[in-house]
Symmetry: C2
Subunit: 428 residues, 2 copies
């Protein structure tokens, strides 16, 4: 295990490593199943492939965009935007944008008319590029937003609009592919054997991340190292598989909710990416842990009471990065009315890390199993690693649950009802 | 029932109104218990009291602040900021701030050193006022942020700092009360018989909301009407109590998670206020529904699969506002490559409302009980109403569960561990 790895430790686990041993053979079998599968498992080796040409192409385009635009509008839903938004928010400043990039706005993932009206108004005095991301191009939310923004671009830029519209879609078929071919839009391919929620390490995530100013080579280096290290077939040497097995054991013990928790507010959207990955991969056939998330210490004063003393239905996965860029020291105050001078000179990040320790201990004592995932640094490299770690763990976890990690049959249900209502067709 | 009321309807409920009838007497008994209690029930009649002087004072101060500042920094955690942030975000534009107000930033609810460093840098070229909100003044996150920002104000404004620091705290005692008295800061009182998560309708919420540009008289009018209407002791005439009873029935049937869902992204923070209210009121003695939330249709492409087909542990509460300011029409496109011309001329809000209907039907068919709460309009008046509705429902619901709706003993656990770690004291 190198220092790049995710370190998994456990508190208050109701099982010992012998329980885990019992999973060894099953894990091995699933490992080879996944490695040898041709069914939507393209993401497994994608970070190991040679992407030099792709990186150059994205970086060239990124330079062009940052010179010619103030805002980059990404149109996509679900796996088409959650990953990029997650990494962007985790690594961008709390106020403003990275100096290496420009503002990136994500739309087409809901149907608020108020939002769209205000967005168009906001864009009116800015130069823009748009990037529509959809495998098929037929999802209503994304298709409607693209219809609006494409016409808007044509009105704003006339014949030049074609140079400011980028399409990320299936390399061979689909509505969006056809439009891109006909109009001559610049295209990026979503590999056909990689599903939406496993696609952030492809152009789906890479172009928006590059434009937002993130170092995509470092990001993909992290993913590549994870892809190498997490090829270990031995459960005892593979932390992703260990995480999957722990989840499975806790699920079988009756826990129904997994709560991902971080202590840095910039990770809030990263949690949402994680929720889709696990919720959509496992929530089928009436099975699966319900994935939810919290940002501490904010939420310790909201849902903390429930975690500590409420219904014993959940376990917690604490995500911790040892190093975070930027910090602030507690100042000395001669008045000391708050009695906090004993903390003067210590840094907020240090105190925050202590609150993480305190929280883990308090929750474990309260009877909540606590999984701790520790990474060295909150940066592009380690987020690339962590994303791959979670994808590998998720595929294993879903297979242990005996469901297909790569489909999402239930997502169609609301769409069908909505379409019938919109077309005034009978509901049954 | 007036048109101001929350309309409660149910889909796929596994009980009929006879089940509800059985609660009538218990609800009546709890109603009178709450009405006659002196224990932290000050919020029940607070909106009915005469607040003219308070409103005038807040509005005068608001005018002063908006003339002299660009940013209003609110320092508080839990109930000291979740309510104001919820209403502010729900009613503010997606880009920028209301023209009647200025930017409001909420800090002191976490301990990220990176955030604090960047905030201070962000404030450097702006004029500011700060408002620290805490009953005791001893919560670490808030106390540390106040220590930093108070010194910052003194450095920036010298003797004038005293005129730009506002304290909202206990009217009689506590660290913060003492500091405010000594320094001569402007003070607002948190009524001592109103707890944090029930306090948004007091100066705790009203001052930040006024400064952000929201009409607090209209907001409090809504709350007042709710306080009048929801005094109905008869379960069959009180929608708040009906909501409480439905939750209790579903909980007793084995559901362990309640998911609050909206279709307007600006309600995201409102959900977080709701989560604290219910999670902290009910999550004790190993009981309580786990409160969680989603924004659709975004999250239909994230956690929608789980809701539709995953573990049958949850029911859903759909929050819907019939009117929302701002909308956009789907444009006609002669190319019609996306096949969406049948929607041309219809508005996004209308389609969004249809997706709500479709979602409710699909989830109900999938076996998920769906509670629908419908309000006329997304505005200050109706949010005031809705907040009171939820508080009244929550107190009833916790009492039905036989737990104290007004304490939060479990929140102390992590603080104690953290303090021992920070002071190097033995953990046991």
């Amino acid at each position: 295990m190198t220092t790049h790895s995710v370190q998994t430790t456990l508190l208050n686990c109701l099982f010992d490593y012998q329980d885990m041993e019992a999973y060894k053979d099953r894990v091995k079998q699933i490992h080879f199943e996944l490695e040898n599968s041709k069914d939507m498992t393209g993401w497994i080796n994608y970070p190991l492939m040679d992407h030099k040409a792709l990186f150059n192409e994205i970086e060239d385009l990124k330079s062009e965009i940052c010179i010619n635009a103030d805002v980059f509008v990404v149109i996509g839903i679900g796996g088409s935007f959650l990953g990029a938004r997650a990494v962007q928010e985790a690594l961008s400043p709390y106020f403003g944008v990275l100096k290496e990039g420009i503002e990136v706005i994500y739309v087409g993932h809901h149907m608020s008319g108020a939002y769209l009206e205000q967005l168009i108004h906001y864009l009116d005095d800015k130069e823009i590029y748009i990037n529509v991301i959809s495998k098929s191009g037929s999802t209503m939310e994304t298709a409607l937003a693209f219809r609006v923004l494409r016409q808007y671009m044509e009105k704003r830029y006339g014949e030049n609009a074609v140079n400011r519209i980028i399409v990320t879609t299936d390399p061979e078929r689909g509505i969006l592919k056809n439009i891109a071919e006909k109009e001559g839009y610049k295209q990026f391919a979503i590999p056909s054997n990689i599903g939406g929620r496993y696609s952030v390490l492809t152009p789906v995530g890479l172009l928006p991340l590059a434009v937002s100013g993130i170092d995509i080579r470092s990001f993909m280096d992290g993913a590549k190292n994870a892809a190498l290290e997490l090829k270990a077939v031995d459960l005892m040497r593979n932390h992703a598989y260990q995480y999957a097995v722990i989840r499975n054991i806790l699920y079988n013990e009756g826990y129904s909710v997994e709560m991902l928790a971080s202590f840095e507010p910039s990770l809030k959207k990263f949690h949402e990416w994680w929720m889709q990955l696990f919720g959509e991969s496992e929530g089928k056939e009436r099975k699966g842990l319900f994935p939810t998330c919290v940002t501490f210490s904010t939420d310790l004063h909201a849902i903390g009471q429930f975690i500590q003393e409420g219904s014993p239905i959940l376990f917690e996965t604490l995500l911790h990065f040892h190093e975070i860029d930027g910090d602030y020291d507690v100042p000395y105050d001669s008045r000391n009315e708050d009695g906090l001078n004993y903390l003067a000179g210590r840094s907020f990040n240090e105190i925050n890390a202590t609150s993480k320790q305190g929280t883990a201990l308090a929750h474990a004592e309260g009877g909540v199993p606590v999984i701790q995932l520790e990474m060295q640094k909150l940066d592009a490299y380690h987020l690339g690693y962590l994303i791959y770690f979670f994808m590998k763990a998720c595929a294993m976890s879903a297979k242990l649950l005996e469901v297909n990690p790569f489909d999402q049959p239930g997502v169609e249900a609301y769409k069908k009802k909505m379409l019938k209502l919109l077309k005034n067709e009978p509901l049954k």
